[in-house]
Amino acid sequence: MAEESVGERNRSNAFVVSARKRALQKVAKKAGEGMLFSVAFFVAVIVLFIFYFVARDAIPFFQIRGFSEFFTSSNWYPADEPGEFGALAIIYGSLMVTLGSAMIAVPMGVAAAICLSDILPFSIRQYAKPVIEMLAAIPSVAFGFFALVVLAPLMQDHGGPMLMWGWWILVSPFLLLSVIVISDLLTANIKDEKRRQQRHWMLLIVLGLSSIFLLFKVGSVLNGIQILTGTNALNVSIILSFMALPTIVSVSEDALQAVGRDIREGSYALGATRAETIIKTILPAASSGILAAVILGIMRALGETMVVWMASGNSSHIPEPWFNYLEAIRTLTATIAGDMGEADQVTGSARFHVLFAMGLLLLIISFISNLVSERIVVRQRKILSGQ
């Protein structure tokens, strides 16, 4: 009897609860969605916070010292009394290694991406992709350690021969190729077949010999170079290019894949070779995506800290001559990492705020290039989908 009544009560309660539950559910749903939104919004809040906190400490610097010194002077003496805060040489150093790494990574990365998407069979691609991902996963401090402990002494001891071999290995195939192409192009208009052949061979021999002479001449000049310091812009550029490569390859491969099969097949049908198809039709179609990849890769190099801090030499001057990659340089990121130690936030000195000004500069550059690359990708998607 007692048990029954308990059962009854429970049942009636259950009914009431389920009625309430529905209302509750509605509220919970709204609340849940609201919570989801607020979490997603949290990301935006973080970005705003980052901008706010970096800018908050950067602005006092410009109030104290103005803009012109920071951007136009290369006298960096933050510890002097009174200090000098010309960041031109440091900005220049950052640009220099970024450009250097882009010069290595962009051609290689794009070529590798083309190869992955259009040339290699699927079975090989399966193994190539993890290699690229591994390269991307290696921590920057490991790269920095390698640059400092392995590459720098190597450059210092065998700099000349290394440059020479690098020049030969990298340049000779291209030079010989261009000799073949140029001699072909120059003789293409000659109608008489026999004369054309003669001319062609003559040109081939003359150009070939002169290019070999050039190879050896430049090679021997490079061989004679003595690298005074192994921690220099070239070292850093090479390592940074390793780090930028995976980004460039994977993003530009996506862009290439997005170009439809029909375009490729159309080109083949017109009798184009694979190289012609890729260069004349696919690359132009994917160009904006590749540009976005390049921007992202460059940003990776510009924002990298540990490698440049460990292996760039940290010397704040503009090299002489300005393109001398064999001198030590100093970058924005390394300056922040190295000088933050002195940040006497208590007195609010220009010394502390100038580092935040550098951080703000990096932040703005990365923000703009992100926006640009995003726009580019969106636009490409629109064009490709035919809108």
Binding site: D80, L228, G313, S316, D339, G341, A343, D344
Partner: protein, 270 residues
Amino acid sequence: MIKKLLLLGFFFSCAVTGTANAEGKALVLDGSTTVGPVAKSFATYFTKKYGVRVMVSESGSGNGAKSLINGSCTIAAMSRAMKDAEIAAARKKGVNPVAHVVALDGLAMVVHPGNPVRSLSKAQISSIYRGAITNWKEVGGVNSRIVVIQRESNSGTQESFKELVIGKGVQMTGNAETQSSNGSVKSRVSTTLSAIGFLGLGFVDSSVRVIAVNGVLPSVKTVKDGTYPVSRPLYFYTNGQPAGAVKQFIDLSKTVEGKGMISELGFVNR
């Protein structure tokens, strides 16, 4: 498979918590890389003897001062005296920095062992670091560009060097390479034929050649009696007069063991 992963994670967290052992409040030291070896050796010894954990971070004298002012370290290791501005800032925050001299240190001028230059005058060194002399030929060496190596601007060694050799308010050459620590200056100089740099005496070993300044080589004797022109005291700064474990730690430098460690590390006892 997910279960496996979770299991793995569980084991892992067990392994990690297994080693957890919280015991007392740790001493935190921050500051100069020059004082770093002394601080680290003291820390190891202190932890072993008294069971108090000691954390040492070497981020530069300036950073040490800042950490003390912010209350984020108990002892600031510095290779220069605190500046007036820093002391004023500390007072404003209610921190009362007290200096304790741990040891003396000679700033050794070092070159690559292959460099035939054996001695430089203070004026010559000053000219090299101001950029007035750029080739070893000008100071009696071989015909090679001088690779000038200096320290990060937050380094007490750098400031002492400027004060003792170049003079306040004089600018160093922008061509000088910057290294973040004594150790990296040493390894740069030992691998670069035409380099010149300066180190705390404790860091000198056979991989670099110490050159005489004004004809005097740095050594325990010349630093102690002041004939070597480039030397300075090394400090531990505390907030107020130290007590308890902090006092024990600082007083290590007065014990036989502490003195032994200091002299084994190549510094000079007071």
